[in-house]
Assembly symmetry: D2
Homo-oligomer: 324 residues x 4
């Protein structure tokens, strides 16, 4: 389904895999400060932080999948079927629709701390964008350089979890995902230690055996453990090239290969795109399933005081560099 | 350590991950037909099939890691520590050193069938290339369009296994790797079926749950299962772009991220490069750990009747395509 | 730690493993109808249902671990460390101490349905039996012939879960234990089906391979899955001998062998006793770690209209029947 | 299928689970010293060591499943389908049929060392006992107080493996079973250590988590790992009651519960009996699936200089000790 993560070297990076069996013509979309954001049940924002991220533009409105604002705050929505539960309008609350949630947060806040405070008065209201764009069941990861949270609107209400791992996949609810990591606490980047018996001899016949037990299937619970292990153990130089490469390697550890997950006969879930935004510099990088070259868009090269969306269609075919 | 695989769409592809904590200045190297191949204990080849692949050139000799000849026969050597056992020179056998094995095979044969016949009189002799290049403990995967074999020189002698999966990693010996797949025969690209109990309700809460139990650690036994599952279930269009992309996705499923396998304090095994050769067209593609763009070299654009090696140093930094 | 379960053939059976590193001189204890039950914060019961079960008798009071009343309602308390959270006395609620919970429930109710209704007004109050018997962190399984529930007093309050599996172990909370079964829904008593690949041959080299993936360690989450699988697939004749034997086999599948779980240096958790009560006939059977012979006590052979506890010390040494 | 093991406290114990879906009227059978042992292709033994064990007596011949001789040497045959390969009669070898193998070994040897020497000239010949008792595909564990070996007659010939674990189950071949233990070397009786990440907090929420990853299904490869872990970590007092109890606990860790392995519709493999022989005292103990009381037969209470087999039918119903 999907995997989101953040990562810090010298700069802070935030991105995600979008895993689906189809594509909605998503583009890298820059929303400048004076693009007028309307909201269905609360006041519009005439001016706001500029935003860059992946979005489907529908009726002139950027439906963001994942995005970062010019202050470095980032947010991604990931599939959360059966668990996501949006509410009827609640009096006395700020009622935000799920499709407005990323613009409303990134339009005005700079830090996760500010977001946490604001979420105390928020309700996610069950209003869809249009007949063509019904409500998606989502939950969200929101990160700045120093902290991440996960937001889930479930039957019991809006839950806000500190996310010390800085990754998110899909079901089950985040508390169970985090609890489940306890079952893997012994996994190690180092060779396994011998505890089975003092009287037997064992052979460390391969490198990597310290992490035996790490799951490799593509279910959301297994991807959570795998990407958490990969991220928490990641080592990287801090140049832009090294950092980006490591980030895409982290996401690659839970990428979905065509054929491994059959959704319906002949339909396969794949990693449509992987993104990595340098949230300090406002540069959004991505690869696609078929195009492994990194493409980049720098928000600061656009007119951020403008009023119109700027969007870059994805480059999807393999961009081969022939040497002869 | 390493993973090799082949894959067929319209054309046939062969490649590998090289997983190590250091690099030997390997380059994409084309050996033309008239490059003189000397062998330590058998007759030289004055003329032979042209070869393209990844090699370290030492004293003018191409020490191939993986390669394909102009007839489409391919071969890769993968690490096989503790198990590889090379022999003293044997009278009555063709004594080939491990570092000569790829040139000797690819120089003269066109099919796996021919190779199997030739292997009956071969012994791998324990002679190293030089003081600086001691013997590597290796085993090999050899593939043409229709079949693959694995060759292992072990204590008991030279073993040649049919390789119906068309993948190879490292330890243990191939018979055990293949046997171990039996323990995973139930894994599926489809959602899990309910067999636990008729009286309980279960929730298929995520896509991909049909493969729960697939290992995700980076040990050689786990990579064998994971890459076998990914390859055997792979679905791809048959264009060059789609085929290459799928092949790199297959290898990506068992790539090694820096930090996950610590070899010695501060030293980490990573996927130095991934290769994918279109064995029908003689085009060798690769990516490196930090450069995810595919780079290609076409053997047929070189003078294949020449006598001199042609080599292309690897492009290693991330090649970002900025859109603005 | 512990495992509880119920099972139905012609009669209904209920029992548990008590897994600990020490024993509290527990005895099989019959409480007759006119034994006066005092409660710390609510009215005493002068007369009540007769009860049989395992208890430590302290100051004349039966501290039951697991028990069944003459109406066939059964209940067991199992360790629930870190999660159990008992409350200060709450006005307007019936405040029951954890050590009174089994007598209070079994003393007056006949069915799980009645218990569920009563639990709506209950609060488990944080009063210990004495300085020598501090509060144990527990949760409970309550079963009649047709239904089971799990009761957990946690930080958020008193949770009552339907328990369709009819088993209980320890941590984590019951909702997570039940959710976790989804990850094992494919496990089967039948041989594995081949889904990995149509192109490879696999060998079902052993019986029992359909349940590969079933955990075998002794942690509470793993025991929950293992005992659930064993119970849900159990097949038994319906005689008393066959039924009891099958029940002890189910509990045996998650028994704790001395040495496998070291609690502190030289201290090992073991299955102190296993119990199996025929809840229809009021006969309580048990085995101990060292005595595998089944010992039985029939509550109906005691004076159930009496006022005094009757207790049978456990027979703990192996009772070998020598044939010559 | 089956599990064999040995264990040493003050005395040495040897036994096994017989896991099948049917029973052959096996009895505890004592063969005295002067019972005439005929062999199909080698000389008879007119006098020999006395033997006690479980056997089906057919046409007056004890077909032993597992047995111990008066010198303390023990041997058990376990199912080894598809792998066992018996040979045509070989000139120059001592040709022993599989059904004669236990009497031939236990009749004359005292130690594993002697057996190893004798096996150098042995061939297991493909002659069945009778039309009604065709050849069983078996392999064997042979133990004395200080060592164990495994004997397998496979396509390549007779293999004799040192067995440092002192356990045996069924397929695959013993070298693979032993190799597979490497994948579990990190399993521990102690709580798991935190290696996943220094930056995250983990909760050891249950005892026993140090062995997470230990398999619990009933396939032969999984039982090998589980029983090896249980045995190698076993702790026991050295009295007869404690030792026997611990031994049956070890075997119980891999017992087969009715319903968990369906062999054909409505037919289930179960642990028909578990045995434990005190090999120093010559006392053979057993339990059955339905009779958990330990029954014992002491070979030294029989006339060991006799000529006739003595057999004790199994006591199979649950032997309940009612206390009131």
């Amino acid at each position: 389904m999907c995997t989101g993560a953040n990562y810090t070297t010298r700069d802070h990076y935030f991105g995600r895999n979008l895993d689906l069996e189809f594509s909605y013509n998503e583009t890298v979309t820059v929303t400048p400060r004076n693009f007028p954001f309307e909201f269905r049940k609360t006041d519009p924002m005439r001016t706001h932080h500029a935003i860059i991220g992946m979005a489907t533009i529908a009726d002139g409105y950027p439906l963001y999948y994942d995005a970062t604002n010019e202050k470095g705050l980032s947010m991604a929505g990931l599939n959360f079927p059966e668990n996501a539960d949006y509410k009827p309008e609640v009096a006395g609350k700020t009622n935000i629709t799920p499709f407005e949630f990323i613009p409303w947060i990134l339009g005005q806040f700079e830090t996760v701390g500010e977001v946490k405070a604001a979420l105390e008065t928020i309700s996610l209201v069950d209003i869809s964008f249009s007949v063509d764009f019904p409500l998606s069941p989502l939950h969200w990861i929101i990160s700045d350089r120093t902290a991440s949270i996960t937001v889930e609107s479930v039957k019991e209400g809006l839950k806000v979890y500190d996310n010390p791992v800085g990754v998110l996949t899909n079901n089950p609810t985040f508390d169970i995902q985090l609890f489940n990591l306890n079952n893997f606490m012994h996994l190690s980047k180092n060779p396994p230690e011998k505890h089975f018996s003092d009287e037997l001899e064992f052979d460390v016949y391969s490198r990597g055996m310290g992490a035996i037990g790490l799951p490799g299937d593509l279910s959301s619970a297994s991807r959570f453990v795998k990407v958490a292990f990969t991220k928490m153990n990641s080592v990287s130089g801090d140049s832009e090239s090294e950092s980006i490469s490591q980030f895409f390697q982290i996401l690659g550890s839970v990428a979905q290969q065509r054929g491994c997950v059959e959704v319906s006969p002949g339909k396969f879930e794949i990693t449509i795109y992987s993104s990595c935004c340098n949230t300090d510099k406002g540069i959004y990088y991505y690869t696609t399933y078929e195009n492994s070259q990194v493409t980049g868009i720098d928000m600061h090269k656009e007119d951020l005081d403008g009023t119109d969306l700027v969007d870059y269609p994805l480059i999807k075919g393999q961009q081969i560099r022939m040497e002869n």
